[in-house]
């Protein structure tokens, strides 16, 4: 599935979800309005983040798109900002610092020269992890706490870090 098709399905599901939620809210029999509104708000936030990220000149990769004929109660379409060459972008330290997980930016960290996406990693709530913040080179901190643990391969690689500018 190429990116254009992925985006197409993504928007199709978002819009379908939003319409479904609105239909439910109009219905007099809707018993869980709060939950439906939360879901609706989430879908609108997804669209909002997408538009914000376009303004930041990033291309997108759509993850975990439900198959067209599959019924999904909560479709899992998530937009994650990516560099324009998948995982070959080279970040300077200053560029990496912008990816601190705030103001629409995803949360990236560097370890041993590789830049990883921790935006939705459960151990990185609010783009922080045991007093460490996203947007930084955490090579020495990783070595101090997780040396030998095969955990980095669970993270999406988004590029490389160039410390020499």
């Amino acid at each position: 599935m190429n990116d254009i098709n992925s985006l197409g399905y993504f928007f199709e599901y978002l819009i379908k979800d939003i319409k479904n939620d609105m239909d439910k809210l109009y219905s007099s029999t809707c018993k869980n309005k709060g939950q439906v509104m939360d879901h609706l708000k989430d879908r609108i936030t997804m669209l909002e983040n997408f538009v914000k990220s376009i303004n930041n000149n990033y291309y997108f990769q759509v993850q975990a798109i439900p198959q067209p004929n599959k019924v999904a109660i909560f479709p899992q379409g998530k937009v994650v900002a990516r560099n324009n060459n998948n995982n070959n972008k080279t970040f300077t330290v200053d560029e990496l610092a912008e990816f601190n997980g705030r103001n629409g930016n995803p949360a990236y960290v560097a370890v041993n020269g590789v830049v990883y996406d921790v935006t939705n990693n459960p151990t990185w709530a609010a783009a922080t992890h045991f007093s460490l913040s996203a947007g930084n080179d955490l090579t020495s901190e990783f070595a101090a706490c997780h040396a030998g643990e095969p955990i980095l391969n669970k993270l999406a690689v988004v590029g490389n870090l160039n410390k020499v500018v």
Binding site: G34, Q35, D38, H39, D42, T45, M46, N49, F74, Q76, K78, G101, R102, N103, G104, N105, P106, A107, T119, N120, P122, T123, A125, A126, A127, T128, H129, F130, S131
Partner: protein, 295 residues
């Protein structure tokens, strides 16, 4: 037991852990196959929050603990004896069989001079003195709460009195029950296990596996929102609080199942993100507790 049957068998089993152990203690004690043991509950550099939490225990309650499970020798806050008499009572267990529970960190600056717990024959007794004296001879040492387990709030930056954990000042194994405060069940269950079978199975940081073998995130009632990427933006939102800083994914303990205040509720149910109070490094390593504007 004060809990409602859940459809999940794992939840039910967890909730029955304490009652199963305590009922076994009752029946074994009745036929004399186990005996009550001396318990010293020593408060050092802390806030007394753990003994207050223990007083809130139910099924079993505190009264059962001090009458049916143990000979409750000493506690700083609850002692009716005062001054020299109280400190003599504290050290009266030396040479006997006893279990030592410590709440509070150990202040080490200037040989512990900033945490004086009493006076014996005119000599000031520091928390450091008391833990070292009582710790080496105890059958078991249990560090109750965050401060005793790893320094906790007492050791938070800038840590002016150089507080450390109990195990840092003893050359022996210490069972750690981190949490701010420690849940009554975590202590009573650990004590019941000791009375019946000895030391409970522990993880690599000496926490009893029967309580600390899952994370908050594993059993969180809002987990499905996380899985679907539906996140709260502010306190009061009823979805996953990951984006505002919930430390549930890195905090190993069973709060979502066991709950608090006689098992009626817990922080996430009340719209407060987990602040990682049962995780090593709390509070410094768990901050910021709340964040806004996260992508």
């Amino acid at each position: 037991m004060i809990y409602s049957e859940n459809k999940c068998p794992e939840y039910n089993n967890r909730m029955k852990t304490i009652s199963t152990l305590v009922n076994r203690v009752k029946s074994e004690a009745a036929i004399g196959t186990i005996k009550k043991r001396n318990l010293v509950w020593l408060e050092t550099n802390g806030c007394s929050g753990n003994i207050i939490s223990l007083l809130d225990g139910a099924d079993p309650d505190f009264q059962f603990l001090i009458t049916q499970m143990t000979y409750f020798i000493y506690n700083n806050s609850l002692s009716t004896a005062q001054g020299n008499q109280a400190i003599k009572q504290l050290f009266s267990v030396l040479g006997q069989d006893y279990i030592l529970a410590v709440e509070g960190a150990i202040s080490t600056k200037d040989n512990g001079a900033y945490n004086i717990i009493g006076r014996l024959n005119g000599k000031l007794i520091t928390g450091l003195d008391a833990v070292k004296t009582l710790g080496e001879g105890a059958a078991y040492v249990i560090a109750v709460g965050a401060c005793a387990s790893h320094g906790g709030v007492s050791a938070a930056r800038p840590n002016p009195t150089e507080c450390v954990s109990v195990e840092s000042v003893l050359n022996r194994k210490v069972i750690n029950l981190p949490g701010c405060p420690c849940h009554p069940d975590w202590f009573t269950g650990t004590l019941a296990h000791i009375l019946l079978y000895g030391e409970p199975p522990l993880d690599s940081r000496n926490r009893p596996l029967m309580f600390y073998n899952i994370t908050i995130h594993d059993r969180c009632e809002r987990r499905s929102y996380f899985d679907q990427g539906i996140f709260a933006e502010k306190l009061g939102d009823k979805t996953c609080m990951f984006k505002i800083g919930c430390r549930g994914p890195i905090t190993r303990i069973d709060c979502p199942v066991r709950q608090w205040n006689e098992r009626v509720s817990w922080p996430v149910e009340n719209d407060s993100p987990c602040i990682g109070c049962a995780q090593f490094g709390f509070p410094d390593a768990m901050e910021p507790f709340i964040s806004y504007g996260i992508t």
